[in-house]
Point group: C2
Chain length 549, copies 2
């Protein structure tokens, strides 16, 4: 389609090249702080960073023969050299493929082969993992190993055939004459860690990544800005660490990385010592952090914190409320998926609703919120009919926008894309009259009892507000009469007890009678996916017949 009357503005492509040169030009003194294996910190400036991005770009093109369109994998935790790969690889026209190191080696081999990765940049600590699937990847030509400390010479030599990252880039020029790229060029490949079927690749473009970054910088949304100190707790192998490194580099924010450390104490130490203003991660991380704060409420000074983004799966309201009421810490609840780059919706309370009761405000802040600028949302029933926004009718959430996938890398999963151009998220939601989305289930986890849908997530949130409960997962157990009935698997907090009756009482009056779980199972832990989400398919395998006599 050609415009009838085209505008007369510059054809200036939305590529990541602009961000890396902007970092060099305006923010050479901003800092990047990486945490090493021994928990000490390595510090470099954006000036160093942008030079190293250029050096890596030279090494990839001249020494490793990486060509435009090639996939270059990373198998690494969160640290500055990984951010260098985030920019150098796409800016030479190649595609960075972030391998999810929490997957099974068989899956990793499948993904790296499917992505046809030609080079992998790997943390030294992850070489044993790489060994387990490397030979399944015929396209793989070279392995580059990130140094344990970028500022120190490697003490023991690498095995034959492996290249040291620091040696690789050392002699290269610190400027790169970036190629002019079409903004629709692929920039990054991320696989969904689906619990069913093979993982599927989502191929972000420069344009989608740039637009996502701009929206992330809106005060409306996450508001990432140059005066922020950003700690992405979300791993860099998950959906581009939610795009946060791109936004941070674009505005010169100080970045702090936890390396391979995801334990609450290390993260809280970093937040306090580096005066972190902005952090982001999945609920399980924040549940641990809140528990650590509760155990030692005076140990950490978090007064610098502006907001903490929770996403990846639905955060229990009690978690959001706990941070707010006990520590004065603001949580920004957001929803997204690998397929949405990932920011889709965000729970902001609209000004005219701010006079609501504390309960009403928490209900909004704990919802998935509404679509951010340039994302559009709707929900549909099983026949594809668009449903009313009444806060009650459950249906599958569908989204569209410039950073939503239009297909998977290998053309799998065509049934996830509707004929009229929407992506089917697999999340079962309600949408209220103000547009607030509330996830009631994953479509595969919803409990279908006698033809009625029961929301496992709402039951879980209610159970997790009980003072003795650490975690709760509600799943569908087979039932001879009702087909499926809800059963709750509950993990209690250390040294706390409670009975099935206590738990039933805590749900009583809040839900329709038929929503009440038929059974409460006290378990040691709830099985999780590689991204930390409850793995309900495993609960169904273990306990699916608990109601069948």
């Amino acid at each position: 389609m050609q415009p009838v009357q085209p505008g007369r503005m510059m054809d200036f492509p939305l590529t990541l090249t602009h961000f890396v040169e902007r970092a060099r030009t305006f923010f050479p003194k901003s800092e990047l702080v990486s945490t090493l294996a021994d928990k000490t910190q390595c510090r470099m400036t954006y000036g160093d960073f942008s030079s190293r991005v250029a050096k890596l770009a030279h090494a990839l093109t001249t020494k490793l023969g990486v060509k435009p369109g090639d996939r270059v994998a990373t198998l690494a935790f969160n640290h500055q050299p990984h951010v260098e790969a985030y920019f150098a690889i796409p800016c030479i026209g190649a595609v960075i493929h972030t391998l999810n190191l929490r997957l099974h080696p068989t899956e990793l081999g499948y993904i790296a082969k499917h992505g046809e990765d030609v080079v992998v940049l790997c943390d030294e600590a992850l070489l044993p993992l790489l060994e387990k699937f490397k030979n399944d990847v015929p396209s793989l030509r070279k392995v580059v190993v990130f140094s344990p400390d970028p500022q120190k010479k490697r003490t023991s030599p690498l095995p034959d055939g492996f290249l040291d990252y620091e040696e690789l880039i050392a002699g290269e020029p610190d400027r790169f004459d970036w190629p002019a790229l079409d903004e629709n060029s692929a920039a990054m490949l991320c696989y969904t860690s689906g619990t069913t079927g093979n993982p599927k690749g989502v191929l972000y473009s420069h344009r989608s990544t740039v637009l996502h970054s701009l929206v992330t910088m809106a005060r409306e949304n996450m508001g990432v800005g140059g005066d922020d100190v950003v700690l992405p707790v979300v791993p860099m192998f998950h959906a581009a660490a939610w795009g946060i490194p791109f936004a941070a580099i674009a505005c010169g924010a100080k970045m702090v990385f936890g390396g391979g450390h995801f334990d609450p104490v290390t993260l809280l130490d970093l937040m306090a010592s580096e005066r972190v203003t902005f952090s982001a991660g999945v609920p399980t991380i924040w549940i641990g952090i809140l528990a650590a704060l509760d155990a030692e409420p005076k140990r950490w000074d978090l007064s610098s914190m502006r907001t903490m983004v929770i996403g990846g799966s639905a955060a229990p309201p009690a978690l959001i409320d706990g941070f707010a009421t006990r520590y004065g810490l603001e949580v920004t609840h957001a929803w997204g998926m690998t397929e949405t780059n990932p920011l889709g919706t965000l729970a902001r309370v609209k000004p005219h609703l701010r006079s609501g009761s504390p309960e009403q405000l928490l209900a909004m802040r704990a919802s998935q919120g509404f679509a951010v600028t340039f994302v559009e949302q709707r929900h549909t029933d099983e026949t594809g009919r668009v449903l009313p926004w009444d806060g009650e009718t459950m249906g599958e959430l569908e989204v569209r926008g410039p950073w939503v996938a239009k297909s998977y890398f290998g053309d799998e999963g065509a049934d996830r894309f509707t004929k009229d151009g929407w992506f089917k998220t697999g999340d079962v939601v309600t949408i209220d009259g103000e547009g607030y989305v509330r996830i009631t289930d994953r479509s595969k986890d919803v409990v279908k009892s006698g033809g009625e849908w029961i929301s496992s997530v709402q039951l879980e949130n209610a159970l997790m507000s009980h003072p003795a409960v650490l975690e709760a997962a509600v799943f569908a157990a087979r039932h001879p009469k009702w087909d499926e009935r809800p059963v709750a698997a509950v993990v209690l907090k250390p040294n706390r007890t409670c009975s099935e009756q206590d738990l039933a009482a805590c749900l009583d009056g809040k839900f329709a009678k038929y929503w009440m779980p038929d059974k409460f199972l006290f378990v040691e832990q709830i099985p999780r996916t590689s991204t930390g989400k409850f793995l309900k398919s495993r609960l169904r395998e273990l306990y699916g017949d608990v109601l069948v006599k």
Copy 2:
């Protein structure tokens, strides 16, 4: 150019259609407040607004036969129906052409003819102005007249051949099935009010306007958000009111308009009564507002104000400092032009510079700042050589980016665009090592004395810090020996006096000796352009020979 490996994200165009539907979907309760001729307010909701946008779109296409690509002009002040035109016209694929009502009728006739406007939407109060040039525009088919009060029936009928806006849209459907538009389609036509030569048209696209809006919403920049109450003092006939209405509608901010009132008291009344959080305008407006505050410091409660953007021409540091020190009000100093949609640079103090002295901080906040995300900056000498960022070397500022013009509507002024893709701004600047731009002059206003350049703007800023000086303009007077020498035209504050010697003393020691103006002229007022900038060409006409005996 085709990407080697295209990404797999949705082809979702960046068009204004998304904003207007977003307003309807998520922000129907947000308010738009327009000030009428009698200074009372008319209030409507975004719900009303989005319905009226659809109605106007229907009326334009069905009743007035407006086709994609057609130019539809507005001749109007700041109010809600003007915002309706901002959206309805581009969203049907036509182009809104905002006529600058402060221009001479001859110029207006030239512009409307050059733009081939087919319809004009006109304020009733401006019909006498329209009459003066209407017949110079052969393409003009229809005149639609905005009602004095959109919520009341017109009391006296319009002359034959004029259509009432409210009657025009009244019976139309309140939904419009917007056409799918290419994002590079023209959306808006704005003419520069150049002081030399004919005005030249800048043709914004949907894409440039949308990207500009997203960057305006960044916390980094203006941070326009849903909890803002936005009062654009900048007229809507200037560079899309700096894009503020687009950003506000995209996030559901309450908008407040002053109508045709630009006097300090009316604006201050609005700021206080509507609890305005964000406002934007040219320095002359803010000079008046600061003087009104100084006269009655306790009259207005401006505690809701988050930031006030000053742009359009360089704000004197004393103005920025006066708001900050006397009233605790933050000024955001920004630079832009019609050709840059308009946001180009913005004066944010980087975190590592915040420990500077008050003088250093003010010097940064009073600079033009540095380029916002996706704008790039450099300065060059008269041969086109790129100059060093040393804070001293003066050269012409050049910019490029996705919301910078690549050519004018009529292909005039080709010499403003360099062969390597930059726009020559006509501003003479220095750029320091941190990237801060400081305007020292318009290229046509710089004083060239014996081969050396003298910055009129720096001298003016120093003069305006004198307590008796309201305004000062330094211009080049002809000189028999030095070719040109600086002369200052000074307007004193009411009931204040000072001598030429006092003024010379206030500059002494701050500049090189040869920068000192040869003469200080005390004048009643400084001639201005239609956009409120000092009209130095007129000063040169009046006083250019003052040094020639």
